[in-house]
Symmetry: C2
Subunit: 327 residues, 2 copies
DNA sequence: ATATTATGTGTAACCGGTTACACATTGAAG
DNA sequence: CTTCAATGTGTAACCGGTTACACATAATAT
């Protein structure tokens, strides 16, 4: 392995000069620069990032902490983070936290020892001290951590309004809202949006809490549909729940979209594969990941960040679980 | 930050002794051990992995190279890799290759500079020199790289036989096989399995190549179903294709499973959410990832590996796209 | 003409560990 | 009573970079 010393020798300069040239720090004459360039080329020199890290206490690692990559929301996020990180020369470390604060803390400490450059975090441990005192650049994704940490999320409330109105415009008179877990910020924002939109109308509604879990949601919706046969619209605050609702409609024997219309939230690929295809409020998950990564890298590189909150727009994707709009 | 020197001073020994104690290498008297333990405890000392790496040219990073984490097959794999890696004290770096040899090569080189401990790779670049000459522990996942590299995969052929027979036992007389891309080993193994099983019967069959892509598969199956209305069974070599087939059946107006039975391959979560639920050959993806990781770590730690090939069993999961077996 | 400042370079300390080697002591073998 | 191996420890070189500092020269200011 060729080292900076080899380069220095070959170029006839000192290692300091080589290092200054490579890092574009301090003065380097053009002759020296040329000589070093040539030597680097000739020896095929590549800087050792570990040695550099040891000195600078920096690295180009980014930690991506999320509850579970298996949850269909996250792969696209991870993909975006990785893509953007790569273009800026960073490498992504994957951390599944299972929402466990201990695991999160562990990752943070383990990676800090490696001089990790920063973290992108999806967590509910809103004010956990291991974040507040992490002393490392962090960007919160999807869920807010605290006021000091920049946050990137979808415009959840706006999306919920959009979704609710989609049902209303299509003639629903009795809407069931499947709200997500109360400890999730995005779920709460969606709830707010739903309430705001539905209360502007004179439409009857029900709200039921349901985890973002297929079989659970199915069961809950089956019960609701049996108990309240007048329900003609369901707004689920996740696509997985919406899929459960669709399945429930099938087993209960309600035709979708004729007797019952369904709108989901998330825009995961699976929605398209259902029959009928799932109408949903699609989040631009990729964009969320990309924005978060760019914000993080700005932080890492000490550039100033324009805002503390970044809201990525959502949009209504109309497929088969809703009818066409009444004119 | 407390260093090994601080510990040495506090314990009244040399850094060499501390290091020997911490690494359990060389001789350390019990008094010295006790003193060091106490000093470590008191100073809250934690070893700096970067400094260690620089010396040992080793790290506890594992690279996970896969085409695209967004593909529903991979998140569970990644999860397994991470889980197992964590229990052995390794950290996972996520690398999306898009099947691009350049990207793969890049990752390998970038990470080798960081003294990465090893790679888990899902790639088609079967004999690419960057793997053959990587000079780093590697385990191939799902797809074989070359004879020298341990490989973990599902028992694809066996699975295909299972799936084909499932259709035959349920009375199908005209089966369409959606085979995957020819450059994919697993797809070929599944093809072999299908052929072996179908040719043992006197059932009529068609084989069509179809990418593991929902909309494409749907289109292909629609065409096939229109051209060959006698088709009464479809075996898709991926769940995504099966989902496309199911959708096609819907649009063409074939009732599943009464007029047409469908079996997929993979066992991704989405299968359950379809209506009717997808009967499929489920791979134990988590297990594949876990086994691969354990094999890799064995390699890294220079323990001997029992085998070069690890085949993880698959199983038939019966749901709604098939009828009950004729007695 | 002299004082400053800007430019350019090298030496050596340092980042925080590991380890080769030299040296000392102890116990067992011959 | 030697002799040699096993046990135990410290010094210092080393991993491959970065950078403070000292020093030299050229350019500009006074």
């Amino acid at each position: 392995m060729t080292t900076i010393k080899d380069v220095a020798k070959k170029a006839g300069v000192s290692v300091a000069t080589v290092s200054r040239f490579l890092n574009d720090s301090g003065y380097v004459s053009s002759e020296a620069a040329k000589a070093v360039t040539a030597a680097v080329e000739e020896l095929n020199y590549e800087l050792n990032p570990v040695a550099r890290s040891l000195n600078t206490k920096k690295s180009n690692l980014i930690g991506l902490i999320l509850p579970d990559i298996t949850n269909p929301f996250f792969p696209e996020l991870a993909r975006a983070v990785e893509d953007v990180a790569l273009t800026y020369g960073y490498t992504v470390v994957l951390c599944n936290s299972d929402e466990d604060p201990e695991k999160e803390k562990n990752y943070i400490e383990t990676l800090k020892k490696k001089y990790i450059a920063g973290f992108i975090v999806t967590s509910n441990q809103l004010d956990a001290p291991h974040y507040a005192n992490a002393n490392v650049p962090i960007v919160a994704l999807d869920r807010e951590i605290n006021e000091k940490i920049p946050t990137v999320s979808s415009n959840n409330k706006e999306g919920a309004i959009l979704g609710t109105n989609a049902l209303l415009e299509r003639g629903c008179r009795n809407v069931l809202f499947l709200r997500g877990p109360e400890e999730l910020n995005p779920a709460n924002d969606r709830y707010e949006g739903f309430m705001e939109a539905i209360q502007k109308s004179d439409v009857h509604y029900h709200v039921v809490t349901s985890p973002f879990h297929f079989a659970e949601s199915q069961k809950i919706v089956e019960r609701m549909l049996n108990d309240n046969p007048q329900i003609d619209g369901i707004f689920a605050s996740s696509d997985v729940s919406a899929a459960g609702a669709l399945k429930a409609a099938n087993t209960v024997g309600k035709h979708v979209p004729n007797e019952l219309q369904i709108v989901g939230f998330d825009g995961v690929a699976m929605g398209e594969m259902l029959s009928p295809g799932l109408t949903t409020i699609a989040q631009d998950v990729y964009k969320m990941g990309a924005v978060a990564t760019r914000v993080l890298i700005k932080q890492i590189e000490n550039k100033k960040i324009e805002q503390k909150f970044y809201e990525v727009p959502v949009k209504l994707v109309v497929r088969g679980t809703t009818r066409s709009v009444a004119e």
